[in-house]
């Protein structure tokens, strides 16, 4: 069986590339197609194969500027010649799902998210506060085209897999298609239970929609210590509002982050994410999570009303909402059992993902072949 893997771009190892890595291990013979590849930035399991790139790779300063080439990406992904493959597996947060396949080829797409910067997060990315009027007007026309293409090209996928129930709903909303939920892999073996200390923790890119400002303000007003790992455009703003209770750690290596997870009192997650791997990493370290009760966190964290809770949700995405949740957490701190919390995280382990994705892909492929007659 000839298999092609399609991935938007290969510029670093993030959550999406962890999914791809497992697929690369499962199907070592598969070829890999991507818009842009920066060699050496990915794990050997991904790079040890034939990697085919698109016209985007040849554009000026593509490695730095590739995001600006977004309006060209739909056309670029359509140029891949996938004749002769029996199975095409795309992992898509942008355009990868829009490849053209033959009727005889089965195309399964693992969706991290439908292009969120043209759908739900358009305002967060290009809202009036951050983008000038003229630029916003230009961007709006491109976004219009991308929305049309995103929906039209959803037609090219035979079978959708969503990375969470939240994303499954968005696929239903934007594409009007059903999907199967398979949560992405978490490498739980890297984490273990330790001795907690007295600080709250944030590990996140400091992008506006992550709402780290809520965590910083809530801690400042409650006079609780908070450590923030990560970099991004909001760093200066957060420093200003955080005052003396905030400890900015910037970028940290994996080993340090593992220790911080073990030692934190609880992990704060105030944004709405499609899935959210960090809350599971905190839970794999036995630590509870205080999270905004929308999006992927609802699927990865067990709330207070459940048996063996692993976290607390807040329903209003405001400083007060988060403060209340922190108070609730502190009053009920004894209910959170590190062993139970870690056990819950283990149900999202890499091996679980590996088994489920293999089963699903093989099962659907057999069905597709049977339909072809």
């Amino acid at each position: 069986m000839k298999i092609a893997l399609i991935h938007d771009w290969l510029t670093g190892m993030r959550g999406g590339e962890k999914v791809l890595e497992v697929m690369c291990e499962l199907w070592p013979e598969a070829d890999l197609y991507t818009l842009l590849h920066v060699p050496g930035k990915l794990s050997p399991a991904i790079e040890n194969r034939k990697i085919i790139t698109s016209g985007i790779q040849k554009l000026p300063k593509a490695v730095e500027w590739y995001r600006y080439y977004l309006p060209l990406m739909p056309t670029a992904i359509e140029q891949f010649d996938l004749r002769g493959y029996d199975l095409v597996l795309s992992t898509s947060h942008c355009v990868a799902k829009g490849v053209i396949t033959q009727p005889a080829t089965c195309h399964i797409s693992y969706i991290h998210t439908p292009m969120r910067y043209v759908w739900e997060l358009f305002e967060e990315y290009f809202g009036a506060q951050r983008t000038g009027r003229f630029k916003r007007l230009i961007i709006s026309f491109f976004a219009n085209y991308l929305r049309l293409w995103d929906v039209a090209s959803a037609n090219r996928v035979d079978d959708f897999i969503a990375n969470s129930g939240h994303v499954a709903k968005r696929i239903a909303k934007h594409y009007r298609r059903a999907s199967t939920v398979i949560h992405p892999p978490v490498d739980t073996t890297r984490f273990s239970i330790g001795q907690p200390e007295d600080f709250y923790l944030v590990v996140s890119a400091l992008a506006p929609y992550k709402r780290i400002d809520l965590a910083v303000q809530a801690c400042a007003r409650m006079r609780r210590k908070i450590k923030v790992v990560g970099t991004g455009q909001d760093e200066d703003l957060l420093r200003r509002i955080g005052g003396e209770y905030i400890d900015f750690l910037g970028w940290q290596d994996d080993a340090t982050i593992v220790q911080l997870y073990q030692k934190c009192r609880a992990f704060l997650f105030p944004g709405e994410e499609d899935f959210g791997i960090t809350p599971l990493e905190a839970q794999a370290s036995g630590r509870p999570v205080i999270a905004f009760g929308k999006g992927g966190a609802r699927e990865t964290v067990r709330g207070m009303h459940e048996e063996n809770p692993t976290g607390v949700f807040f329903s209003e995405q405001t400083v007060d909402g988060l403060m209340q949740a922190i108070a609730t957490f502190e009053q009920n701190e004894s209910r959170f059992d590190p062993v139970q919390t870690r056990a819950h995280a283990l149900t999202f382990d890499r091996e679980v993902f590996r088994r489920r994705i293999k089963e699903h892909v093989e099962g659907y492929y057999a069905t597709y072949r049977a339909q072809q007659g």
């Binding site: 056309t75 033959q102 039209a152 090209s153």
Partner: protein, 386 residues
Amino acid sequence: MKVALVHDWLTGMRGGERCLEEFCELFPAAHVYTLLHNKGAVSPRIEAMPIHASFIQELPFAARGYRYYLPLFPTAIEMFDLREYDLILSSSHCAAKGVRCHPHQVHISYCYTPMRYVWDMAHLYFSREVFSPLSRRLIPPFLNGLRMWDALSSRRVDHFIAISRHIARRIAKHYRRDAAVIYPPVDVARFKHEKAEDYYLLVSSFAPYKRIDLIMQAFRELRLPLRIVGEGQEYRRLKKYAGPNIRFMGRLSDEAVVEQMARCKAFVFAAEEDFGIAPLEAQAAGKPVIAYGRGGVGETIDGYPMSGDADRDRAALAGGEYGGVFFPRQDVASLVAAVRLFETTTDCFEPAKLRAHVALFAPERFKREIKETIDRLLTAGSGGGN
């Protein structure tokens, strides 16, 4: 019931226009809408209908260069005002299926293929061999737009009828829609059978996907006589490679084709075809077909799929049940093996049996099936699936 027939363009009589001819027979009071009509280019039966052409007709050099206006076809087809009709029957391989209809109308589309040069055959059409590097950069953005339009406008069709199961699968893949299957008409009655002379025959247009290059290479290797009838974009390029055993006949009249068919040893065909009329015509002349066993040909010809084991293949063919030989891979070696197998089993094919098989594809059958299906779909109304 007022009927509109929508057909992509009327510039010559090919398979699609033969179907349109039957539609005109079925609905003699219908009006024909088309992007472009070169007067006199189609049969008198079609020319006798009231024909409405789009603005493409008015554009410079449209009569011959209309293909370059492809990016304008979606808009042109959407400009037709079809308010007064009850039934819209589009006969579409390009844009015809995208006409605007009203909720009270029923739109049935007889689909030759979804625009194949923008979907799974794009790489065959816009290959390095045919297009310059500059064109190959300029074309993709247009294809990107056409793909969106093609997929979105497929929703305007209430019921799809595909010309083969192969096309039904393409409709399912690109449009996510079900389709009934009705094979197009083949005028089998005009063919006759005569004693075979020593040549193989191919009748085909010279389009890249026909893989005439592959057939020529195979026959150079085999050193067996081959005649190729037809013309098209690759004619000049390929003619240069014709060896002494390969004869280019150019375009022939219908009568001359009948004569060539009648006396050939076998008909050779390497394309993955949407339907494939020529192989059926060869069968109507009682001639076996050596073909790539995929696409429409795989459905319509009762070919023997080669196993690769020569003894087993010969034994299977000796039973005289088959209409030809299917080679499994679209490459020279596979075709060479098929012709060699055929050379040792030439007497295993029964002309009368082949002719009886293709009688099923005669125009009467097409007209009957179309009529029955349209009657059934009209009762089902618009807005539903098939």
